[in-house]
Amino acid sequence: MAFYLRKLLRLAAVVFTASALTFLLVALLPGDVAYEIGGPDATAEQIAAIRAEMGLDRNIALRFGRWLARAVAGDLGTSHRSGEPVLQAIVSRLPVTVELLLFSQLIALGLAIPAAIISAHKAGSAIDRSVASAGFATLSIPSYVMALLLIFAFALRLQLLPATGYTPLSEGICPNLKGFILPSLSIALIEWVPLMRVLRSDMIGTLQEDYILMARAKGLPTWKILLTDALKPSSLTLVTVLGLQIGHWIGAAVIIEMIYALPGIGRLLVDAIFSRDFLMVQGCVLVITVAYVVINSAVDLLYAVLDPRIRLEPKNG
């Protein structure tokens, strides 16, 4: 129990630090935020009103307290560019990013698991070595290059799939999915490699266990041993890596959303940076970071639940 409590405390501390840094991001911005929001034509009264509204004339600790209290209540302010409440803007874009991340994870797993099983089964063989080399090379391709290659091949040359554009789910599942194939592939075709590596090395370990030998001795077919007896105990680390990689995936999603013109949270963030929409940037950074930290901790805890040995090991190995 103490283990989980410590983990939760740490999570709370990190979330608090992250939100404090996000707050400072705008609070310490060089120049006067009130003038930026008011625009060049703002009168002195308007500036004063903005200052009072945002509490800019008060002590920074007080402002942080007020901001945090509001953020917890779900009020991240209103964008001074579009007049849209920040939280509402984020919530309306979130499903696109989540769908993109889910699809790319599915595709990446679909590539990584068979490749890892084959590589582990024939460790050291030509297949294993070519999978490893292909993986090594793909890791050197940035996701934006992969996206351009895919657009070039599948959208421009073969004309199979749309290059950009997003169809909401309400207009039919098929067109919606079609728009997600290339974006998801752009992430998955790179990110499957770490998953494959982890699963492969774990499986090689598992395949040397005595009970695998036993299963072989009983005459079970190889594919059955690989898929049922070896895969499950080997996938523990895979789950963790899947969680730890999520930061990577989010970063990739930002760029991929820009390239494929998907209205996700990454695009919202970059657009907000370009239009210097402070509160929107702050909101996006806060939501993404907190989500990331929570997912990571959840995976951490899940791992501890699945594998009791973790709970007993010293904290800083």
């Binding site: 050197s140 990739a252 760029i255």
Partner: protein, 307 residues
């Protein structure tokens, strides 16, 4: 325990130098070429990288221009001038832009890990050597930095400080300090338990002497290997920011920016995007190959297998 002498590091390095192989020397040669190009970028007889030739926009490779073009070191060149790698959407010479882009990529790619290596390495060694409360504090601080998703932190810092190399490099460095810190700490922890440290202490060496003469020479190699692996990551990250238009400001050429510009004409003139993409891929792959090789040779976990 007989090998627990500080001198073994030296021997190991010599023994391994012989078996570095093709996958080490080829990428090394490519990187040397890039370094040479970065240093000599201004000396070549090339058009100025920001000269726009509007009669040849997005020209394919090996296009001949009959005009006089302003050279990058003053004066005029050409008539005819051959665009060996073609021009980009604004009619600028891709060869000149690629060569000048090497500077940005290498500067970011080498400087950010170097800064992070010095800061993170120092903190990590001290944390691993002195342990105690300082170590817990360092670990907690590094975990907090790692708690941010990388690119989002980078975008946030970029938003705060504004674009430009002078802001980009420190931001990237902050991002990877925790990684170096971990490697340095983990390595220091294992080395600090070795017998030769105890021996050094027995003959009266102080903490500073032990760190500088016995820990540092052993920890520096894994750190360097890790640094090389991060060079590629940094080049990709700089490219990503420039691709989004948040990296190096125009007209300074950067590979990421060039790829982004070529995206618009991917159908008619794919070379505008794909040439810089290919150069970036080869460069990142080279650094990864070098780093991977060096890591294999220096990784503590591999020691027991190879010896």
């Amino acid at each position: 325990m007989a090998e627990a002498l500080a001198g073994t590091v030296e021997i190991r390095r010599h023994r391994n130098a012989a078996k570095l192989g093709f996958s080490f020397w080829l990428p090394a040669a490519w990187i040397c070429l890039l370094l040479l190009l970065a240093c000599s970028a201004d000396l070549w007889t090339l058009p100025a990288y920001d000269h726009m030739n509007f009669s040849h926009p997005a020209a394919p490779p090996v296009t001949r221009s009959e005009q006089w073009l302003p050279s990058q070191n003053g004066g005029l060149i050409g008539s005819p001038y051959t665009y060996w790698l073609g021009t980009d959407t604004l009619g600028r010479d891709i060869a000149a832009r690629l060569i000048h882009g090497v500077r940005v990529s290498l500067l970011v790619g080498l400087l950010a890990p170097a800064i992070a290596c010095i800061i993170g390495g120092t903190i990590g060694i001290l944390a691993g050597f002195y342990r105690g409360r300082f170590e817990s504090l360092v670990v907690a601080a590094m975990d907090t930095i790692l708690a941010f998703p990388g690119l989002v932190l980078l975008l946030a810092i970029g938003f705060y400080l504004g674009p430009g190399l002078q802001n980009l490099i420190p931001a990237l460095a902050i991002l990877i300090v925790p990684a170096f810190c971990r490697v340095a700490r983990a390595n220091t922890l294992t080395w600090a338990e070795r017998d030769f440290i105890l021996a050094a202490r027995a003959i009266g060496a102080g903490n500073r002497r032990i760190i500088c003469c016995h820990i540092l020479p052993n920890v520096v190699w894994p750190l360097a290997a890790y640094g090389l692996l991060l060079v590629g990551v940094m080049i990709v990250a700089e490219g990503a920011l420039s691709f989004l238009g948040l990296g190096v400001p125009a007209p300074t050429p950067s590979w990421g920016g060039m790829i982004a510009a070529g995206k618009e004409v991917l159908d008619e003139a794919p070379h505008v995007a794909l040439l810089p993409a290919a150069v970036m891929f080869i460069t990142v792959l080279s650094f990864n190959l070098l780093g991977d090789r060096l890591r294999e040779l220096t990784d503590i976990r591999n020691r027991s297998n190879t010896e």
